[in-house]
Subunit: 238 residues, 4 copies
């Protein structure tokens, strides 16, 4: 990986994209007034935030804003290992910066009202360990499948509305699982609030499910759903 201006731009974009995802998404989550359909409202706002991030930054760095997506992107051979590591580091730093800024911006009464904490997820008590891991893995797998489809050459002509489709995919998956596991499908936005509240162990199961999906789905995609469009083995020098 040559450290040039273009690399800086991609790093800065992943940092900004993840910071924006956390800042805007968690601001909407904190301002949710609750009530009958509060989970749908949360899901819709989270999905729209993903769409905003992809619309603004999509053509600069890809706008993964999610370590799982960068890992899958590497597993499929679309980016090099160094780029993936840089993306993940920038995403984690961006998530920290976004969450820190958010806590400065929200009034104290709003922060205190959020239980267990702003953007902090908790699995449903009656779920077993295996159920939490499997559900989070399945939902993250759907998200990664959506990205695999986006990156596939067969989908190359249909990229105009793809940010809207990915946003709506997040709405569907998040709504299905938000009461079960939190359904973040994103290690950055799962881990950062947990670290801020001094309890990163509480989200270990979800992280396991997410990473599992990030690694397994590209393997399945290449072997089950891709007939002959194998990626050309060109050495990548970026």
């Amino acid at each position: 990986m040559i450290w040039d201006f273009f690399t800086f731009i991609r790093a800065a974009t992943e940092f900004s994209a993840t910071a924006l995802l956390i800042l805007l998404g968690c601001m909407g989550d904190a301002m949710n007034q609750g009530g009958e359909h509060k989970f749908l409202v949360t899901s819709v706002h989270y999905g729209l935030t993903v769409m905003v991030v992809m619309h603004v930054f999509g053509f600069v760095s890809g706008a993964h804003a999610n370590p799982c997506i960068s890992i899958s992107c590497y597993c499929l051979g679309h980016i090099a290992l160094e780029v993936m590591l840089m993306y993940v580091a920038c995403q984690m730093a961006g998530a920290f910066a976004g969450y820190l800024l958010l806590l400065q911006l929200l009034p104290k009464e709003v922060v205190d009202k959020s239980k267990p904490g702003v953007c902090l997820v908790q699995p449903m008590h009656s779920l077993s360990t295996a159920q939490v891991v499997t559900i989070e893995c399945l939902l993250t797998a759907v998200l990664v499948l959506g990205w695999c489809a986006l990156w596939d050459v067969r989908n190359g002509r249909f990229l105009d509305s793809v940010t809207i489709r990915m946003g709506l995919l997040v709405v569907a998956c998040h709504y299905a699982g938000v009461q079960l596991t939190g359904a973040c499908m994103n290690p950055a936005s799962t881990l950062v609030p947990a670290i801020f509240h001094g309890n990163p162990d509480a989200v270990l199961l979800q992280l396991t499910g997410q990473i599992l999906a990030a690694v397994l789905v590209p393997f399945v995609w290449n072997n089950v759903y891709t007939p002959r469009y194998k990626p050309l083995e060109i050495p990548v020098y970026n």
Copy 2:
């Protein structure tokens, strides 16, 4: 039909697509907390799930994920009889697998709370037999018309946002009929939960309406709405 790797991919994709449709769609249905606009929430989530399935698997096998669509596709001459039968078999198997997995993932309290059962539909009591069959037939007909339009050569340039349009079409049709007949518009997701609850007879009327629409609409499409774009009579060898 030559049984090659490409055929395997299409079969695996229809299996996965229907399993995902049932798994994700019924998970959202089971987690619906009820309340004033619960039917709209169910419809929106079902429609978004259809969009997700079409986005992920659309360019691999077509992502019918619905026996009615495969039957109509065959009636219009887009796929061969053997392909249609394989698609329907894979769809039914996928629906079974998806529903089975879902029941393992949901906590017992959520499954017990779902009345009459997770994703199980019941027609409104005050509807006559003819009304149930006609309403389900009409709503499925709209869905099949949407697919006929998607497949039409005149629509060939407008496929970018078609998955979103089909998802929203499902929202509109499902919301209109969900309280009347259940408005599944999909024999796989109508029949499988009914079989699991030991009562497949209860959904016979809806199935009749759905199959009726799948057979009638392609005939109407070809004879009333298609002026000269008759499909070329090329023998199909797949």
Copy 3:
């Protein structure tokens, strides 16, 4: 206008499109359970129904499904007078057929519950005559402006998601005005339920506003928003 098979197809399509608009749209309206956000739910379902109709029939006849749109289309010179008259006649007949079928399909308890009647609109009592006409005219004008933009050559490359945009435009306009004038923006769906309930005079003000918009907007569009893209004066022989 030569009465050939293509003309028959266009007439049958406008008939079907308007019947579907009334059938699906008013079915959703009748099944609305009320509650806090019932007007938004009605608006969303009405907008989605417009999108469904345009998606299915858009490339066959244009899928106006609304006499106002056909009148504006004629005023802009896109269709001939005979075609416009045929479209309007088919739309009114389709609206009648759709409403008649709907009343057969809905159970009696649902029909009785709808006040003042299924899909029947009433202006807010505190509005003056001029306010009802102006509001309905303004909202219909926005709808017609949306169609003028759709038909404009400058918009020719951006037609993929136009059915979704028009559906969302209907949501926005309908929600703004539904409590004020009913905000049908469509003489067919305004008049037909009123005739069925024996009271067509009650919707005269809305009809006046709608027709006014249909005639005025094309004039404004051509003179204020169109710099040099005047339609070529080619005699139309269809």
Copy 4:
């Protein structure tokens, strides 16, 4: 800037676009019945209104309908200073005209019910001055970033669904901030209702944040996210 017919068209379009934005958006706001999810309903309607305005007028004048966007457009070098000033003047005039017309159209009971006034925003009491300015600046920055992405040459092939994306971006940003600062992100629709209610000072903080975002974001866009696609330095004669 040569004052020709094309300039008149652009001025008239910005006037109409902003008038429509205020008229339709504030009509929906005034008719909002409140209740649990009233802020989401307001946000959705405001976002859809932005989409309507961009769909109808987008290809005529760009449909900024927002002084911030015109300022950013000038800062990026896409329009000349005179054009920007003309756009802003027309937008303010259009906002006045739209708000004036709206007050004539709404019945007195609806106007009286709106607290503190139709479309009038108030920051949350517990927010400090710096918090109000920063939040409004951040949300407006996201909107401006969305426009920067829209204008970018790298996005040139993906303009079909861009009006929907911008509408949904407005939904996401407005919902996140509506309870905090009002989240108008538009000096025209922030200032005009405040002037009508004789209290323009009350929105000074929001205006500061908005203008700040309009000036800062283009600078950041050009220096951080744009690697080599510098705008060609061609003298602009319009």
